[in-house]
């Protein structure tokens, strides 16, 4: 049996089954959906055990050169605590593991996040309007600074949005709408790209298995 062709046919039939939902819900779609969910869950369990648990924990606890490293029992126990969420009486133990994860994550990313997403962005907004780049850059800089200021005013709720504040907030919401529009355009492009990828698979990999070459 040619397993490559079998794989292509399986992929093609499952793709068509999933697309059949666009017409209406049907047993082929349900089958493909349930198969995907089940396969994904099974795959992730095995993948996590093989690529995360064994190399990162088991092989450190019991190294190949022999001996046991008891310190690695701690993450093992914390991992078991996480699983104990399924036992109502012991579920509270999982909070210890969670608090460790949250604490470590927050500590590591707090300053980095502030630097990358706040300070650097504020710094990037403080631009010399007339500095180099010709009229296009000048206009871009004006729009950027106006957009940031007006956008911030829109999210300032301690003063009623009337008068000059209201008009500024309106400019802010207009600029936000333009940003959402651009974002939506990109989203459309992404979804069509996925359709293109799957269509290329069907046209140029699946059809040739039936002797149809486009």
């Amino acid at each position: 049996m040619n397993w490559t062709i079998f794989g292509i046919w399986l992929g093609a039939l499952l793709s068509l089954s999933l697309y059949s939902f666009l017409y209406k819900d049907n047993p082929f779609y349900k089958f493909a959906e349930h198969l995907f969910v089940g396969m994904s869950a099974g795959y992730w369990v095995i993948y996590t055990i093989k690529n995360v648990l064994i190399p990162n924990w088991w092989e450190n606890l019991l190294p190949a050169e022999g001996g046991m490293q008891p310190i690695w029992l701690i993450p093992g126990i914390l991992g078991i605590f996480m699983v104990l969420r399924i036992v109502p009486k012991l579920a509270s133990l999982s909070r210890m593991s969670l608090s460790l994860i949250v604490g470590t994550g927050a500590g590591l990313t707090m300053t980095a996040m502030f630097q990358t997403n706040a300070l650097a962005q504020v710094n990037g907004t403080i631009v010399a309007l007339g500095q180099g780049g010709g009229w296009f850059n000048w206009v871009s800089n004006i729009i950027m600074v106006t957009g940031v200021v007006c956008g911030l005013v829109y999210f300032f709720f301690s003063k009623a949005h009337t008068g000059i504040v209201g008009r500024t907030a309106n400019v802010g919401i207009t600029i936000l709408m333009v940003a959402f529009g651009a974002s939506f355009g990109y989203t459309v492009m992404a979804r069509i790209s996925l359709l293109i990828g799957q269509t290329q698979f069907l046209l140029f990999e699946w059809l040739p298995t039936m002797g149809i070459h486009l």
Binding site: Q115, M189, S193, I196, T199, L203, L214
Partner: protein
Amino acid sequence: MATFTEKLGNIDRRIIFTVIALSVVIPLAMRFNLPIPITPGPSTDMFDVVEALPAGSMVLLSFDYDPSTMPELQPMAFALTQHLMRKDIKIVSMALWPMGVSLGNEVLTSVSDSLGREEYVDWVNLGYKTGGGVLIVRMGSNIKSVFPEDYDGNSVDDMPIMDHVNKLGDFDMIISLSAGDPGVPAWIMMAGDRYDIPIGGGCTAVSAPQFYPYLGTGQLIGLLGGLKGAADYETLVRIGMENPPPGTAIPGMAAQSVAHLVIMLFIILGNISYLAEKKKKGGVK
């Protein structure tokens, strides 16, 4: 009886799906090509930075995606890897997403074979490790402690390509092809801003708008956004190349453009119907 504008506003969704499907299938099946004009922007910035790297430079290429975003990110990976390997730039690859490893290996092996490059000398795939940002922080001080072995289980100490690489600061550039988190933001936050390493990115079109602020501040030196970014890069890499290898992004863009035109047409029709109906009811003066 429903008027024409009413019917226009209530087109059966299955008709819309069929028209969209045809707008994608026909250009692909007919191998319809549209020109892809390259204008200065994030894609050309990325190309220029890679182009300026001297032969022998070290680049870390991170495959932070999975098969669900392959149509957008895999063409980028091919085009970037071709560019890097043609310029004789050494590639150390890895993945912050588990399934990115095998997708990356497919790209590296294929391009390396076509250009006669050697594994462990010109490129290596270190594989996947969990941890995201924490992993990047650890790599900042010692890569070999994080990745003592490569994807195939070979010791990195025995690989010529890893002779001069000990920490992230030893790389001339980091490129993340990212479908979400962890991905480009984690590399900017934990590597670019910390160690002042140029970061380039490739991402799905959905996430591209959120990365534009990083371009404005120079935290990202270039960005390939979605299939358009991949097609831009494919086009740039092919300039001056005899018998360029086949790509999937450029043919895909023709279908993309036709589909976008069809969607725009439906949006216009929907708005005409909406305004006409509203006017009929006295809502629009």
